[in-house]
Assembly symmetry: C2
Homo-oligomer: 315 residues x 2
């Protein structure tokens, strides 16, 4: 049997180069596998490469009778039906921590950009507003980050790196996660308590059924009118319609978002707000992070085809 | 004699409220003092409030025979003719460090915004580029900050705060300044050597005749095609036409600028580049920083009118 890998998600060509040199790739371009390949072709597929957030359930697994490994590009694997995979003895691997620094950097980019209003400030200058001495309500002095109470929700590799970064900005950092970690930040026992306390909420929690829409209308009300939220985790963690409502009526002060409920779709209501910074899921999108994620994917696929345990299995 | 203060620069009304409660303000609105006030009125002025970057020379001092103190709002005092003031026994005060955290935060906002391309990324999403799957050359994976060699030029209060922040991003930090400081970063003996070494140049040096256009065409060439420069100090430190040329022909990779040679004028050539992030001199523009700067101004003026030494004198 050859080392056939079904490319389940739509990947940029450049991201597949290194895999193509090592494995035979069957690219779906993001379309259903059975629309692109025959049953015979799919029968030879032993491994699958996916973006972790993309739904991958029983129906797809049933098309691939030889499938033994699902390898996620990136940290997340929230789209994969873990029960269905377990029933079929399919292994699941990911790229843990490979993009953590890049994602943490983007969290800070969004937070600082939001607090210092970099989008309207840059636009004001480029459009001649400054040289023309045009008034701009957006440029009234904003609250600074110094002394802010920062709540980090989730203390995995990314949460840790975010906390280390934001603490260097003379802020007070506390966190909530399922369990207490050996980190130099105050642990808060419940998410509501963290949100009540903080001015800045940074979401770095793993997506899953237990965190689905956990940041809802009530949590946003607790965050309060001077509060801002930054999400670099998954769109599913926030109740997006509730967030839009909270931004519209100033229940909260602003949001920095790299992830959305139904990517790449972003509601117009969200993209028309001035008090948001929006990026198209580029948290892990740096050259270094891609190389590190690709290293994990290659290591997982190589080990699997050689009959060895995955070096980066999903726990 | 009453406590008359000439407001030499154009200030927003909201910035003057606290001063107006304590002193009699003569506001020029940024116009020449003798166009707005009579010689008799000016004769009673004992103190002057200015933005440090605005040129303030002998001609103005000669209009104010009772002037005994020039108080700068902010850290800089580069516009003040120090010799002329010394000849007239005029004291000079500033607001040292009051805005250092806010300025350091903005340096990081510009650096991260530049490296993670937040301006084009936000625009791409808001204009429907992402949902429409439109290709964007701006969104090819950029180089990340992890492991970058960061050179900080100037190690005053702001340089120190910038260094502490950027070091938390898993970077390697070195600095150059007139003298070695007791800081945990490698000292580099010359600016050229620092620029040769670094990928990211953060300018936090005090403006003055010795640093005028010190970042010139040759320095930008040394910074190199993967190098980026961020300036939150003064526009005078960079040879702006040379910077525009270096950005136009990719001698360097990008720039983040809060300060310009002739504010508020910014050449079109600069504001048309996609690989720059531009803000209208808002480094110290946060509520906290304004309150802290105002505290320094009030303390300086109060002490001066009471015949006590200035608590925040320019050294």
């Amino acid at each position: 049997m050859t080392d056939k890998v079904l490319v389940f998600s739509r990947f940029a060509k450049s991201m597949l180069t290194r895999f193509g040199e090592r494995f035979e790739l069957l690219e779906t371009g993001g379309k259903p596998a059975d629309e692109v390949f025959s049953a015979t072709e799919l029968a030879g597929v032993r491994a699958l490469l996916t973006m972790g957030a993309q739904p991958l359930g029983r129906d797809t697994m049933d098309l691939l009778p030889s499938l033994g490994a699902i390898v996620c590009y990136g940290t997340g694997y929230d789209g994969v039906d873990l029960d269905a995979a377990a029933e079929r003895n399919i292994l699941i691997g990911n790229s843990p921590a490979a993009n953590a620094s890049a994602v943490a950097d983007l969290a800070m980019t969004l937070l600082l950009g939001l607090m210092r209003r970099v989008i309207p400030a840059d636009a004001y200058l480029r459009s001649g507003g400054w040289s023309g001495a045009r008034p701009s309500p957006l440029l009234k002095p904003p609250r600074g980050l110094t002394g802010a109470k920062v709540g980090v929700y989730g203390m995995g590799e990314i949460g840790r790196k975010i906390a280390a970064r934001v603490a260097s900005f003379e802020t007070e950092v506390a966190y909530h996660s399922r369990s207490r970690h050996d980190v130099p930040y105050r642990y808060v026992g419940s998410l509501s308590e963290l949100v009540d306390w903080c001015d800045v909420l940074l979401i770095a929690v793993r997506a899953g059924p237990d965190t689905q829409r956990i940041i809802d209308a009530e949590m946003l009300k607790r965050l309060g009118k001077d509060g801002v939220v930054v999400n670099i985790s998954r769109g599913s963690v926030i109740d997006q319609p509730a967030l839009i409502a909270a931004l519209a009526d100033n229940t909260i002060a602003g949001a920095g978002l790299d992830v959305f409920e139904q990517e790449p779709y972003v509601p117009d209501a969200l993209s028309e707000f001035p008090h948001v910074v929006l990026t198209p899921h580029i948290g892990g999108h740096t050259l270094d992070a891609h190389v590190a994620m690709q290293d994990c994917v290659i290591a997982n696929l190589t080990a699997y085809f050689a009959g060895r345990p995955l070096p980066y299995p999903v726990a």
